[in-house]
Subunit: 155 residues, 12 copies
Amino acid sequence: MAAIKSPLTEAAQKVTGDALQGALVDLIDLSLVAKQAHWNLTGRNFKVVHEHLDEIVDLARQGQDDVAERAVAIGVNPDGRVRTIADRTALPQLEAGYLDDDKVVAAVTDVLGQIIGRFRERVAATDEPDPVTQDLLIGITAELEKQHWMFQAQT
Amino acid sequence: MAAIKSPLTEAAQKVTGDALQGALVDLIDLSLVAKQAHWNLTGRNFKVVHEHLDEIVDLARQGQDDVAERAVAIGVNPDGRVRTIADRTALPQLEAGYLDDDKVVAAVTDVLGQIIGRFRERVAATDEPDPVTQDLLIGITAELEKQHWMFQAQT
Amino acid sequence: MAAIKSPLTEAAQKVTGDALQGALVDLIDLSLVAKQAHWNLTGRNFKVVHEHLDEIVDLARQGQDDVAERAVAIGVNPDGRVRTIADRTALPQLEAGYLDDDKVVAAVTDVLGQIIGRFRERVAATDEPDPVTQDLLIGITAELEKQHWMFQAQT
Amino acid sequence: MAAIKSPLTEAAQKVTGDALQGALVDLIDLSLVAKQAHWNLTGRNFKVVHEHLDEIVDLARQGQDDVAERAVAIGVNPDGRVRTIADRTALPQLEAGYLDDDKVVAAVTDVLGQIIGRFRERVAATDEPDPVTQDLLIGITAELEKQHWMFQAQT
Amino acid sequence: MAAIKSPLTEAAQKVTGDALQGALVDLIDLSLVAKQAHWNLTGRNFKVVHEHLDEIVDLARQGQDDVAERAVAIGVNPDGRVRTIADRTALPQLEAGYLDDDKVVAAVTDVLGQIIGRFRERVAATDEPDPVTQDLLIGITAELEKQHWMFQAQT
Amino acid sequence: MAAIKSPLTEAAQKVTGDALQGALVDLIDLSLVAKQAHWNLTGRNFKVVHEHLDEIVDLARQGQDDVAERAVAIGVNPDGRVRTIADRTALPQLEAGYLDDDKVVAAVTDVLGQIIGRFRERVAATDEPDPVTQDLLIGITAELEKQHWMFQAQT
Amino acid sequence: MAAIKSPLTEAAQKVTGDALQGALVDLIDLSLVAKQAHWNLTGRNFKVVHEHLDEIVDLARQGQDDVAERAVAIGVNPDGRVRTIADRTALPQLEAGYLDDDKVVAAVTDVLGQIIGRFRERVAATDEPDPVTQDLLIGITAELEKQHWMFQAQT
Amino acid sequence: MAAIKSPLTEAAQKVTGDALQGALVDLIDLSLVAKQAHWNLTGRNFKVVHEHLDEIVDLARQGQDDVAERAVAIGVNPDGRVRTIADRTALPQLEAGYLDDDKVVAAVTDVLGQIIGRFRERVAATDEPDPVTQDLLIGITAELEKQHWMFQAQT
Amino acid sequence: MAAIKSPLTEAAQKVTGDALQGALVDLIDLSLVAKQAHWNLTGRNFKVVHEHLDEIVDLARQGQDDVAERAVAIGVNPDGRVRTIADRTALPQLEAGYLDDDKVVAAVTDVLGQIIGRFRERVAATDEPDPVTQDLLIGITAELEKQHWMFQAQT
Amino acid sequence: MAAIKSPLTEAAQKVTGDALQGALVDLIDLSLVAKQAHWNLTGRNFKVVHEHLDEIVDLARQGQDDVAERAVAIGVNPDGRVRTIADRTALPQLEAGYLDDDKVVAAVTDVLGQIIGRFRERVAATDEPDPVTQDLLIGITAELEKQHWMFQAQT
Amino acid sequence: MAAIKSPLTEAAQKVTGDALQGALVDLIDLSLVAKQAHWNLTGRNFKVVHEHLDEIVDLARQGQDDVAERAVAIGVNPDGRVRTIADRTALPQLEAGYLDDDKVVAAVTDVLGQIIGRFRERVAATDEPDPVTQDLLIGITAELEKQHWMFQAQT
Amino acid sequence: MAAIKSPLTEAAQKVTGDALQGALVDLIDLSLVAKQAHWNLTGRNFKVVHEHLDEIVDLARQGQDDVAERAVAIGVNPDGRVRTIADRTALPQLEAGYLDDDKVVAAVTDVLGQIIGRFRERVAATDEPDPVTQDLLIGITAELEKQHWMFQAQT
């Protein structure tokens, strides 16, 4: 079974692969957190926030696929298995049960803020080793920051 | 914060809620397993299996949303958080690293076979307490069995 | 002028026809109630509730057509004339004039809850005499319960 | 709860509001009459007339929404509740049971002819007080007269 | 060459497989009968009936695919070969040559009525052994009965 | 360089041209005001009002194009340059910085109310000199009044 | 064979019918003139003018259908037969053979200018007898004047 | 002004050009005849025949464009001016006034039959001189014969 | 009941009608053979061949309709009844039960090769009597030969 | 009223915010300049340039929204009010009245050239402080330079 | 590795294969020539000619695929490698650097004229050996001649 | 004839222009190589690889257009003539005749690997002189590397 030959040097591949795997963990758990809130939401703004959360899910799912396929394209195996995500995620987790809309807006704002911090580090880290990966991470960061503004604006 | 008032009796709600939460765990992990294989696949049939796995992902994601929203519609909170899925999933997990196409086809056939077994139990269990939920579970079972046949036919 | 020949026995046709005619009355008045609220609504959540009410109208209009055409397919004449609906409807009626958004959300939640109760009785009643009609009623009940949850979650 | 401030003088608002409420009653009952015929139709031209009646339903439903939203836009509450329509409608009502296609074509031609007469009066009445409403009523009249010709041509 | 492993017990598989194979024969010949009439039709209602027959063809072709793929999904080989259909079909066959529109409407009404009778038996037979298959057969029966009403209404 | 030959008399062209140029100034500044609010908005209803404002932008941009092209079609040069709009606009201007959602709703209601007043004057002024232009202005007034109702209903 | 019963008085029907028949002659010949130029065009601006002429054809064909169907809707038989058009058209006719682009632009500008003159007379003539027809003629005039400006601007 | 240089010899161009000009006259008048019937039609089959006639109009208009553009492509100027069509058409002309549906069906069948006769001669005539034009004429003949069958089948 | 009047001489009609009826038998059985393989397929290339076979089904069904409607357009009744196809088909028939993908590819290549041989004879036979039918048969042959290459290329 | 919390340091936010506000002024006035030319254009290339200018308008409007939303996403309030644009724009302004096509092409080429110069400075300025904003500005620059080439190529 | 079995005799295959390979060389180089002009174009008609050239590219690319796939379908290997095209092309080549619009129009007219000459020879050559290929070549010739007229008309 | 004025300094223009011209040669030949394989392919994976190669063709054609238009936008004439590509291409060339699927997958993997090496050099070279061009080259590299992984994964 052939390994994928990387267009990068080993060192560049290591740094870039770590950035992509970290992004993958963030984005998979972001999609699960947003769905959990989407389903258990209550409150006067239910309808709007319920639908807004699915924009986060779409962003996170598209981002997952892009970073994971970028990883394998540079010869690094992405790991998106449930145990891996559960063990490595740094996202604050939601309570079980019904979730009030105001608290969800605050929580998502917080989660996005933390993920953005890590993405900006990944953008910096990949500048030298792989500008192609950096460009992908910049694009996802732009979308995360746009959503961060929109959730924050409702608080 | 108002709980959702169920159209079911408490007993019916309990049985139905358990069936839906079980289905949710199966379907979320199915989507993660299929994506893991989609990304790390190798082998002569790469292109076909890579694309076929995304049909499983679509089925599993649509099914997740349907069962979770059905749960809350009967007044039961679905739990789709990563830790919950990691702890409760009964799906055999994939190895890390590259995955050979033949092995993936066999593994997905096996995973689908196991999930189908549990869905058939849920269909039976919900017949009396909630025919509306049963109808939803029958629909998902039909799709799972169709994919089960198609993966199995390639082995 | 030929009557439509029913695929059902006379007894089964009677029970099923009654269930369908009852559903027709509920769904036609539901569409009128939802439009009345859609037009006369006021309040801070005007835009969201205004658009959400049109989802109820769409559901109710599609449902009307399905139950009425199912009735005639089993040889029973559906009656959707305005006098019939006005005389037989069991739905609580809205006040004339402007309608506050919170009150509309509560009223629609209540209306849907009552209709769902009657649909569940119709599902039970048609199980033996006509599983084809039952399947249609189950499908509409699922949609009504989904909307019931979404309106209730905003209260 | 704020009333909508009208762009019209009180007198103009009164005349225009009456015209719009009258149009609303005509159009809601037109949609119910057309659906009743759509469902209970029989005869050699069943398929064509069955589908043609849905064009009337579409026209009537679009027209309802336009006149009702125009009413509230000028500060008048539209009343489209079932009891109101049943009590005020001037449309000749259909018999219960199966309806022969030729008779349906004649009945719809007659109904449209009567509604057109009232719409032409409303067009005249709103010329001075509100040309914006008049323009809307002219547009609906044009469509009613087009359908009137097409039903009449088949008799 | 691997046989498809059935999710059903052998007994359930036998009953369900027979129901599906019977449905397949009915639906393939229905599509051929409807096409034969579509091509050789004459009469004043030619255009409408010509196009209406293609709705039957679409229904029958979609149904064929669904029942045949359901059969193989439960490990039973569907047989849709021309000799099989010719030998086993129970449908009354059309005359060669031009077909008058009134006679076609009557013949299709009759054909649909007979098929519906057999589908209702299959719905009953599969209730216990396989509710997933039953649900599929109920869906096709609903469509057949809708078309049965529409053809019958023109006679 | 050829001037466009007008289908109107000079006097009619003057009155009509003034009405159109006035409408152009209103509509261009309306689009800029709505975008300014769209970008700087905050508050619990952020998402809904943010998107609602883009409906105003679309209405205003489509209207601009229509009135400007109508002006040149009657031989009058529309002037939509930034200095012209800044000098002639009669719209109350927004503050710099963040804008609270409730205040935005009130401000847009007010802006639309003022523009509607001027459009109704233009409709009256063009009745004699150019019914073609009047018809265009009536159409835009209808849309402005619909939005005016919808913003007002949220206050 | 039934004549269509007009919603207009006989006098109003006469005036309105004449306006519509005149418009029909203009629009049918406009479509033929524009196609003749579309086919026989030459010159440096061939591609642009060739495609622009098809916008005229579309406008003229849509307009034909609208005025002819409006005529029959008020009980007047439209006459669009080739001999009628040839005998009654007032449009300046094109030369046979190749047509230079500049001359075509000038000719179309001239033709549109003449038609517009007659449409403005028809708008005035129908104001009292039939505002519904007037509204249709105003709409077509607006489009003709827009194209008139665009052709004129290129000369 | 440059004439278009033909890919054909002068003799071939002459024969082919005559065939195309003849086809153009037939197809333009066919579109006018079909529209005249479309507008003035009455009878029980009004709706079906009214819509069927627009299929003829579409066929005739698409064919016109194709034959005229083919003519100029081989250096022959097509002449589609109204006077030319009126003088050269060989189509039997319709009566003024209302047209009974049965008579229209018979008349269109007859018109199509005559045009087909001439197209078959043109197909034969162009076989040697220009197979490219012949292929175009064969395509149009196929469509005319399909419509001829469908109109004939209703008589 | 009127027979369709043919645009061909009796002799030409006979030859052409035979060619079309022969093509109809080939194409109907081709669609049944391809569906039988589509359903019962197994093997490593299952997914690709399963989908590829549906391209054959589409080609065969479109071709059936075209040749049958062409037959009736020239006054010949197509016969596509199941007994006729079963008795006259010359296609090698598939075994019952599961079908290995390699064998299916070989079998379809063989079936297409045989059909192509007969279509080339029909193209030759119709050259004189009816170039319109010949053009249709050429078009279907081109598609059959393209699929023949693509199946053959996989062997 | 909460300010948006920036993902940038204060210094980076200042530089980036200035670049975005400058871009906003350029792009809003570009859209107004292009529309002014779009409306008042004359000359032989009217149609092409008229439509080409709307591509500039689309580019400028999309760009406005992107830079303004990026500004608020980093916690800087964009200012797009008409007075601000009028006072700060550096774009050469068009004359009032008709505008010759050649002059418009030259003017737009010049305007685009100047804006591009400023965008390249903004790209350089944001490289360090915010690569996400830089990436957005690079994308807009690419489109501006493409249009600059296309306008320049026509001079 | 299996060669594709041809439906043609060896002699017919040779003649047809040569015609198709010749067509392939013409069409590949036509697409490259048109793209070269598309990119390097200047002049007042830049925009129109730039876009018109892409119609040639589309025609040439679609044609390439069709002739190459037809070649392999008859068992002849198409050769579209760059060296083959460079060595065998008979098309006059463009100069490097900017290309004036008038010269491009003249050059494309010339190129198309030459290719058309060779296509007409190929149409004649394939008449006997393979009418299926001939039909394909006729279709491409028709499109080439249409474009030849349109380019020529602008000179 | 005006040269396009570059937004770059002469030195930057030189480096950037060379990178773009090199990319153009790679991408044009890549599209020809992929088409040659698409047409002459054989082997068990024919269908999948045949279609996959067209994704490469699409990528290469879109890339060609983007790099060539970017070149002219910075004032450098792209050269995509067949002789230029044949002389300068560095791509390993395919054999004539049938091509086995496994060998094609290996060859395309190799070709993509070589092109990616050169694109990474061009990304590095344009970083300073033109970040706009660099961003375009990064985007194309990302797509090439994604395809490189997908072809490699099948080997």
